[in-house]
Symmetry: C2
Subunit: 197 residues, 2 copies
DNA sequence: GTCTATACTGAGATAGAC
DNA sequence: GTCTATCTCAGTATAGAC
């Protein structure tokens, strides 16, 4: 039922727009009443994100199970182990992503989800012994790396998600290792491996 | 008027709770009608964040005006130049922060604001010549550093905001420079300057 | 400033699974 | 019988249209 409601919502939000769609219409398309919709989802936005709790669970599990590495190494390892997406999944996720980016209310909810995910990763790192004041920074960096890779992947990159993720982590390493100088003009003799694409 | 509405909202949201407060009550306490409230703010949440656009503007201006440094150096310099807060401001901001953290709806809006701020910083970096795929990572890291410092500051730390901010940036440097090893057990001979507090 | 659509909530009734 | 899912009905408050 949740799946039916989610499919109905994505369809209507996409073709008619989020704010020109009522919850009653979503429910009707799924074959239930509005009240039933609200038994399954707390509000009009949450349908679109159904199933993301599972993603968060597997992510924290991957962090917990990663071998001993540097802090960012743990995240790189954990996120890479989840990067086995197929092309069919990509189409569905790209559709979801289009609906979300087209709708301020859904973007807001997505931002909240990202914060929540970051806190979950911070907690998972803490359980491995990483102090919070470092873990929160690592988690925020790691999640942004993941977001960027996902953005590029959904954008239609010809490269695999795993490759995009690895590149993004490499850029993060660059960032603090001192390689990423500011531009204009090219800094003091240091080569700038900034542009890869 | 916006200030009166904001003060009224923060007072009622704090003492009675956000969802037990109606916009009509907020308006009444500020001495206007509900309609007038919605002339100044687009929804029930936005009052709490009145004035944050100015913060974003001064932040992007500081990024634009920072000297040539490493990527994170630019953000460190820019954010530090804004770190002149007094104790009176701290009390007011701590009160706002308490109301926000107590209310899911307001936390969600805050998350959206953070995303927006991060994008603004990314844009400001791009105008300096930083390619987006690096700038977005740097901005996300920098904003998280800023958030952590602010959190500690509002939490009642005896140290100055500038000092907390500097420490947080130092931790970020540690993160990728290889200093931040995972814990349990202590890694191969490398000293671990993890715990400072 | 008035009016209305609609997101959301609560209580109670019904129906089917077990 | 209990438990769970759904529907019906009656509201309130936000937000937007006029």
């Amino acid at each position: 039922m949740r799946g039916r409601l989610r499919a109905a919502a994505l369809e209507l939000y996409a073709e008619r727009g989020y704010d020109r769609t009522t919850t009653a219409e979503v429910a009707a398309l799924a074959g239930v009443t509005e009240r039933t919709y609200f038994r399954h989802f707390p509000d009009k936005r949450e349908v679109v994100f159904d199933g993301e709790a599972a993603l968060q669970a597997s992510m924290t599990a991957a962090v917990a199970g990663a071998p001993e590495l540097s802090l960012l190494g743990v995240l790189r390892h954990a996120f890479s182990s989840l990067a086995s997406h197929g092309e069919d999944e990509r189409d569905a996720q790209a559709h979801q992503h289009r609906v979300i980016t087209a709708t301020p209310e859904l973007r807001e909810r997505a931002a909240a989800k990202t914060v929540h995910l970051t806190e979950a990763v911070t907690d998972a790192l803490e359980r491995r012994g990483t102090p919070r004041h470092l873990g929160s920074l690592a988690a925020a960096c790691g999640i942004e790396v993941l977001s960027r890779a996902r953005r590029e992947w959904l954008d239609g990159s010809s490269r695999s998600f795993a490759a995009l993720l690895s590149d993004a982590f490499d850029d993060l390493d660059l960032l603090v290792r001192g390689g990423a100088q500011d531009a204009l003009p090219p800094a003091q003799g240091v080569e700038q491996p900034l542009h890869r694409h």
